[in-house]
């Protein structure tokens, strides 16, 4: 086995174990901390694919900012281990249904994708994940979706300010 394959399987195992721990941790703070580890494992996968920019942005935005806010909110509302409300059976069932159908969708999509069918792991190869090619593509081929999504973010920010002022 090559070093890259060893790294790939180690990172995958790490990601899956952490993801399971997010679900089965009783304490919401522990769940958030495990979720941060999941993001790190995924960033490791991005680095194996030589998508350095994506990897570091994943860490800055998700692990660094959004998770800090999650932690902040959970600490502020101070959920105790025992006082966490138990969900009803129907709600749980609906959750399983929704999650299961999403999983089926993902698996079906991955199976149908022609690009990865019958391919070996593509690791440490290609430059599309580096910042120069990515920036060029974003500001030439995909400039309209890029600008529209930034307008979307701006409107979300304005909305947050308005809700905050009420």
């Amino acid at each position: 086995m090559s070093i890259l394959q060893i790294l790939f399987f180690a990172l995958s195992a790490f990601a899956i174990v952490s993801a399971i721990m997010v679900l089965i941790s009783k304490n919401p703070i522990h769940s958030v901390l495990w979720l941060i580890l999941v993001f790190f494992a995924i960033s490791g996968h991005y680095i194996l694919l030589n998508a350095q920019f994506l990897a570091i942005v994943n860490i800055i935005v998700y692990a660094g900012a959004i998770m800090v806010l999650f932690l902040f909110v959970i600490m502020l509302i101070n959920i105790k281990k025992d006082s966490e409300p138990q969900k009803q059976f129907l709600v749980k069932l609906l959750g399983v249904l929704a999650g299961g159908s999403f999983l089926t969708l993902l698996v079906a999509l991955i199976k149908q994708t022609a690009q990865i069918e019958g391919r070996q792991l593509l690791m440490k190869d290609g430059v599309i994940g580096l910042i120069h090619p990515l920036g060029k593509v974003l500001f030439t081929d995909y400039v309209i979706p890029f600008e529209i999504s930034s307008v979307l973010f701006l409107s979300a920010m304005v909305g947050a300010v308005i809700i905050g002022k009420k």
Binding site: I56, G64, L71
Partner: protein, 347 residues
């Protein structure tokens, strides 16, 4: 790439480099605490520590020994693993920045060219930014795990402060990246060495914004709200004792040294000795001169940090937030627009 075709010499070389950098940083940190006490003493017109050894030079060793020998207390109501993880995370996050700092030009030893930088990654500055955003976890986890209301308050303060000042810091960085056109710290420093002026000339406002934000990210006075002792007793490390407390205290000084190194590299030419042509001396000697120059710049920045700490009183919490959101961020945005306009005008 199999295990056999791996360049093991490179791995060993990098490992040695990492060990040297970490040990040197910790040694300098030890004496930074001494320097802090001496600077405070000079500014307050008193002698400062002068009992242990000549001029009190062994004082940091005595401090370290005292911290290690103290009894280790873990509160019974604390969540134990996170309580232990907190200081470790704070220390790790502050040391991780050193990986992308270019310490000097290449060394030539035993027929190999040794780059004095652990990793020249394509995304150097963003890596630093990611580590900075990680460093708040040490404080948050430690403060929450202590199961103490003051610690929790302080952890929440630290989180909101870090998030607020990260934005302005990022915007100041974007303006710098617009002028340099690269994210790699090695290239940024090399561009400043070869011919044209230091980046601070092109980005004076950006540097001031970055410096203030760095001070806020390091939790230094006037931004040390998370450990404001007259409001929060002792802040997030209130329940900590022995070397765990020591780790938190040291991590602050390591942060200070690392952000000084980053600022020196990004805005003040890194290892570049001004008015001196490095190509006139042997490469190894040039590398040594480079390391010395960078260290001197770091010491000057650290002194600036201390000078400010012992001169300016602490902000009130609302003042801190107002400064962050209503002054620094608009200023950084303006700086970005100005830089963009100047680049356009030059084209």
């Amino acid at each position: 790439m199999t295990l056999h075709s791996f360049d093991w010499a490179l791995v060993i070389e990098k490992l040695i480099l990492i060990i040297i950098i970490v040990l040197t940083t910790l040694l300098i940190t030890l004496y930074t605490t001494f320097g802090e006490r001496k600077v405070a003493a000079i500014l307050q017109d008193r002698p400062g520590p002068n009992r242990v050894g000549p001029f009190g030079l062994f004082q940091p060793l005595a401090d370290g020994l005292k911290l290690i020998m103290k009894e280790e207390i873990i509160p019974t109501a604390a969540s134990k693993w996170l309580f232990i993880l907190g200081p470790g995370l704070a220390m790790t996050a502050s040391l991780m920045t050193s990986a992308v700092i270019p310490w000097s030009t290449d060394l030539h030893l035993f027929g190999r060219t040794i780059a004095l930088q652990v990793a020249d990654v394509n995304i150097g500055i963003l890596y630093v930014f990611a580590v900075v955003s990680m460093s708040v976890y040490g404080i948050m986890i430690g403060g929450w795990a202590s199961n103490n209301k003051f610690s929790l308050m302080s952890a929440l303060r630290a989180a909101s402060q870090a998030i607020s000042y990260e934005i302005a810091m990022g915007l100041a960085l974007i303006a710098l990246l617009m002028t340099t056109g690269t994210l790699s710290l090695k290239t940024i420093v090399a561009d400043q060495v070869s011919g044209h002026w230091w980046n601070v000339v092109y980005q004076p406002l950006g540097f001031i914004i970055f410096f203030i934000c760095a001070m806020a990210e390091c939790n230094r006075t006037p931004f040390d709200l998370p450990e404001a002792e007259n409001e929060l007793n002792f802040g997030y490390h209130q329940e900590y004792s022995s070397m765990k407390l020591g780790f938190y205290l040291f991590a602050e000084y390591v942060n200070m040294i690392m952000s000084s190194a980053i600022m020196a590299s990004m805005y003040f030419g890194g290892y570049d000795l001004p008015f001196f042509d490095e190509s006139t001396v042997a490469p190894n000697i040039a590398a040594m001169i480079g390391i010395g120059t960078l260290l001197i710049k770091i010491v000057l920045f650290v002194f600036l940090f201390m000078w400010i700490r012992w001169t300016i009183p602490r902000f009130r919490y609302d003042q801190l937030m107002n400064l962050g959101w209503k002054t620094m961020i608009p200023l950084a945005l303006f700086n970005m627009l100005l830089t963009g306009a100047l680049i356009l005008a030059k084209l």
